[in-house]
Subunit: 494 residues, 2 copies
C-alpha cells in the first residue's frame, strides 16, 4: 500500500532504538496497524499470512499427534471462572467483562475468555467417563483478551491476541508429562525450523507459573537487544483443574480416578520474536520457510531490451513456480529497479533475482540474498537447484546468527553485583545457582528489571521429567549465598 518512496525507509535504528525500530518495521512492512482502542491492533494481510504459516505447520503436527480441533464459547460465566481459585486470582485483574446483552443487564457477568481452562474443563468432566475416553486432546485457534494496562507492542503486548490453546486430560501423571513435553518440543520446532529462532527450553520458577499449574514449561528466545521472549508455554496442571471440575474416569477395575490435565499455548508473540530477531534497518527479514513470497524477480531493461529481458524472466518465473517456489515477477512499468529493490527488502523477500540484458546474453541470473546482500551469479540452466540451495543458505544464515547470539549470551555470575553487572553490560542470560526464594529474584528485579525467566529442566521424560536440573551439591545461591539446589537463568524480558 506504500505508494511514496519515503515510506520505504526505516528511519529508526535497530541497535539504537529497538522499540521504535520494531514498531516502524511492523507498520511499514504492512504487518499490522494500531486500532483506535489502546491495546488493540489490526493484523493486515502480510502479517496474517505469517500467522497462517505458523498455523499450517503446528496444526499439522497437532493432528499427527492425536489432537482434535474444537471450538468453545468466547464467554465464560463468572461462576465458572471462580471454580478454580488460582485462575480467578491470576486473571481477575485483567478480564474484560460483558455485562449487557442488547438493552438488558446480564444477571451474571461473562468474562471474555482470557484462557479457556474454566469453560473446557466442565465439558471434559461431562464427556469423560471411562479410561477408554483418555487421553482426550482438544485444541482451538482463537483470540483471547487480557486487559493489561501496558504500552501496545504489536504481537508482543496487546489486549486481544491470537493464539492456539490446547487442553488435554490423561489417566496418569506420566502421560500428562509426556504430553507437556510433546507440545513443548513442537513449539521449539516451529520456532527453530519454521521461524529460524533458536530457543532454550525450561520451566518457570514456582512463583511465576500459570495460575493453577503444577509446572509451567516454556521456550525462551533471546532477542538481539539482549532481552528474552517467552515464546510459548506448556503447563502440567496436575489434578487441580480435574479436582475443581470433577474430571474423573472409571479405570480398568471400574474404580473412579481423577484425571491429570495439561494446557499449552503459542501466540502471535512467536511471530514478534521472529520479526525482532531477523529484521534490520532496511526492514523485515523473513526465513524462506515462512515467507509468503520466497523469490522476487526484478527485470532490468531499457526500451530496446525490454522484450528479451521480460521473456527470459517469465521463463524463469514459470520454472520456479513449477518447482513449487512462491515467486513474484515484479514487472511494474511505473517503478524503477532501485525502488523495487528497496520495497522487496522492506517486505522481507528472502531472495532477489536480478535479470538484465547481460544475464540474458550470458544465460545467467544474478541472485541476491536478504538480509546481507550477498550476490552470486548462477547459470540459467540449473536455476531451480540454485534457488533451492540459496534459500537453504539464507535460512542457515538467519538461524546461525541467532544461535551465535544465544550461545554467546549465556554467562555465569555469582553475587548480586556480578549478576547485575553482567546483564547490565551484555544483556542476555545469567545462569546461577538459586536457593528458590523469590526474594532473591526481587533483589535483582528491583535494580534492573531482570528476572528469572527460565530454569533448566530434565527433559528426557521418565520419572524425573520436569524436575529442575540441580547444581553441584555444595552450590550456593548466586544472590544470597545460602545453599542452593536449583539453577536460575536471569534476564530482562519482553
Amino acid at each position: 500500500m506504500s505508494d511514496d518512496a519515503q515510506d520505504l525507509g526505516i528511519t529508526e535504528s535497530k541497535s539504537h532504538k529497538p522499540g521504535e525500530w520494531y514498531a516502524e518495521v511492523v507498520q511499514k512492512a504492512d504487518l499490522a496497524d494500531y486500532a483506535p482502542m489502546g491495546g488493540f491492533i489490526v493484523t493486515k494481510p502480510r502479517g496474517y499470512a505469517l500467522w497462517e504459516g505458523i498455523q499450517d505447520a503446528l496444526d499439522g503436527w497437532f493432528k499427527e499427534t492425536g489432537v482434535d480441533n474444537a471450538y468453545f464459547p468466547m464467554f465464560i460465566p463468572e461462576s465458572f471462572l471462580e471454580r478454580e481459585k488460582d485462575i480467578v486470582e491470576g486473571f481477575d485483574p485483567e478480564v474484560a467483562w460483558v455485562t449487557q446483552g442488547g438493552h438488558d443487564e446480564l444477571e451474571e457477568r461473562l468474562a471474555v475468555r482470557p484462557t479457556s481452562e474454566s469453560i473446557i474443563a466442565p465439558f471434559m468432566a461431562d464427556w469423560i467417563r471411562s479410561h477408554r475416553d483418555l487421553p482426550m486432546r482438544l485444541n482451538q485457534w482463537c483470540s483471547v483478551v487480557r486487559w493489561e494496562a501496558t504500552e501496545t507492542k504489536p504481537f508482543f503486548r496487546t489486549k486481544e491476541f491470537l493464539w492456539q490453546e490446547g487442553h488435554t486430560a490423561h489417566a496418569t501423571d506420566g502421560e500428562a508429562w509426556e504430553e507437556v513435553w510433546t507440545r513443548l518440543d513442537q513449539y521449539a520446532r516451529v520456532l527453530e525450523e519454521v521461524l529460524a529462532v533458536p530457543v532454550l527450553r525450561g520451566r518457570k520458577p514456582d512463583h511465576d507459573k500459570f495460575p493453577g499449574a503444577e509446572t509451567t514449561t516454556c521456550v525462551e528466545a533471546l532477542m538481539p537487544d539482549g532481552k528474552s521472549v517467552q515464546s510459548a508455554t506448556s503447563h502440567h496442571l496436575g489434578q487441580s483443574f480435574a479436582e475443581a471440575f470433577d474430571i474423573t474416569f472409571a479405570d480398568e477395575a471400574e474404580d473412579e480416578q481423577t484425571a491429570f490435565t495439561t494446557s499449552w499455548g503459542l501466540s502471535w508473540r512467536a511471530l514478534g520474536a521472529m520479526i525482532m530477531t531477523h529484521s534490520d534497518d532496511q526492514g523485515l527479514v523473513l526465513p524462506p520457510t515462512i515467507a509468503p513470497t520466497q523469490v522476487v524477480i526484478v527485470p532490468i531493461w531499457q526500451a530496446d531490451t525490454k522484450e528479451d529481458v521480460l521473456e527470459y524472466s517469465e521463463g524463469i518465473a514459470t520454472d520456479l513456480e513449477t518447482a513449487g517456489f512462491s515467486v513474484e515477477l515484479d514487472d511494474r512499468d511505473e517503478r524503477n529497479p532501485g525502488f523495487k529493490f528497496n520495497e522487496h527488502e522492506l517486505n522481507g523477500v528472502p531472495l532477489r533475482l536480478e535479470i538484465g540484458p547481460n544475464e540474458v546474453d550470458d544465460e545467467e541470473v544474478t541472485l541476491v540474498h536478504r538480509p546481507d546482500s550477498e550476490q552470486t551469479v548462477a547459470d540459467r540452466d540449473g536455476i531451480v537447484d540454485a534457488v533451492d540451495a540459496h534459500l537453504d543458505q539464507i535460512f542457515e544464515k538467519l538461524y546461525d546468527a541467532a544461535a551465535a547470539n544465544l550461545d554467546e549470551n549465556v554467562r555465569e555470575a555469582h553475587s548480586p553485583e556480578k549478576i547485575l553487572g553482567t546483564i547490565g553490560q551484555h544483556g542476555g542470560y545469567v545462569k546461577t545457582p538459586w536457593c528458590g526464594d523469590e526474594a532473591c529474584e526481587t533483589v535483582i528485579k528491583d535494580e534492573i528489571a531482570a528476572e528469572i525467566v527460565m530454569q533448566p529442566v530434565d527433559d528426557q521424560g521418565g520419572a524425573s521429567a520436569g524436575e529442575p536440573v540441580r547444581p553441584d551439591e555444595d552450590a550456593t545461591c548466586g544472590v544470597c549465598d545460602e545453599p542452593a539446589d536449583e539453577i536460575a537463568y536471569f534476564a530482562k524480558s519482553y
Copy 2:
C-alpha cells in the same frame, strides 16, 4: 464418546418432530453440545472437522480470486458503530457490550462484533489512497455475537457463531456487483458441490436487507420439512459505508472519488442446513466430499477366521489410504459388528465395507451405502475404483434427493388464501408477483409465519445485475391484486 448401546439410537423422528430430531442428531453424533449459558454451544471435534472442511474449500477459492485474510479486533467502540446509522439501528438491540476491563469501568462501551463493517471501514479509508489500491478484498474467519433471545438451535440459532466475513472496496459500482456475484457463486458452489445441498440464488426484499446495504443477495436451501434456510449472504453496500467512513481514492485523473463496498458472509448455518437436509432417523448423513471418514471397514470374524479376515481387511485399508481416501478399519474386539454398523451410521460414514470369511474366500468385498443401505459386492481387485465410484454415487443420491425436493416444492399461487393454503399444505416456496409493499408480506406472515425469503434476480452480470426479475407486464400482486412488477418467493424459514 458414546459408550452405551442405548446412546446410539435416535429416538425422535425426522418427519414427525424435526426440531427434536435435529437436536438429537447433533448431540448423539458428537457434533456439538449445549453450553451452560443459554444461546451458546460447544463445537465438538466431529462438528469442527466439518467446519474445517468448509473452510478448506472456501478459503482456497477466496485466495484464488484475490482475497487476503486479515484479522480485526473483536471489539468495536460504540462511537464507531454509530457512524453508519443503519448498522446501529439494525444491530443495537442485539449487541453484547463490554463495559468493564479488569476492575475498571470503561469510558466507552465496546461492542463484541456482531459484524465488522464498522471497524474495517475506517481502516480501508486509511489504507486506500489511489485507484491502484483497489480493489481491496479482505476476509476474516472468526466468531461474532448477536444477542437474540430465541431458542438455541445448534448451527442455526446461537448467540455466538462461527463464520467468515469478507469486506471489499471497489472503484466502480459494476466492479462491486461483480464481487457480490463472485462470492454468491462461491457460496452456492460450497453448498452444492461440497455439502450436496442445492440452492436458489436471489435477493432479499428491501425491507429485509442487511443494515446499510443497497442490495442483499442470498442463497436459500429448502429443508425436508418445507422450511427455507438462508445459507449465506452477499451484500452490495453501495456507497453508504464509504460515505460514512470516508473511503475515497484518487482516480487516474487524480480526482477524489468515493469507493463502492461489499460484504459477504457464510456461517456454520450452512453446516446446519447440510445436517438437516441429508440426515435421517439413524443419525447423521454426510456427503463423501466433507466426511472426515469416508470409508469404514468392518471385519466380521469368528475365532478361527479372525487372522485371515483382519489381514485381508488391512490390505484393503492400505490400498484405499494410498489412493487418498480417508479410511477407518474398525477392528475393536469389544464391539460386535451390529454395534459398529449402528455407530458408523449414527456418525454418518458414507460407505461401509463389510468383510467376513466369505469375502476373503471369494476375493470380494461387500459395500453398503449410507443412507439407503444399498448393498453391492465388488471384486477385491478393483476395490479402489469401486470405492471411488460408490462414493460418487452416494454424493449423487444425496444431491438428487435434495434437488428433487427443491424442484417439487416451488409452486405458484395467486391470492392470500391460495398462498397460505399452498404453504400450509406443502411447505416449500410459493412464487407469486408482488407489488413491493411490505404490508402484503405481513398479511401472510401474520397468518402462518411465512415471509418473502427471496426474490429472483438477474445474475448474468452486466448493467442490470442484481435487478429483480420482473413478472409479466400485466401481473398483479399475489396478495393485494394491485399491479406488481416484482416476483416474491414466500416460505417459512429457519
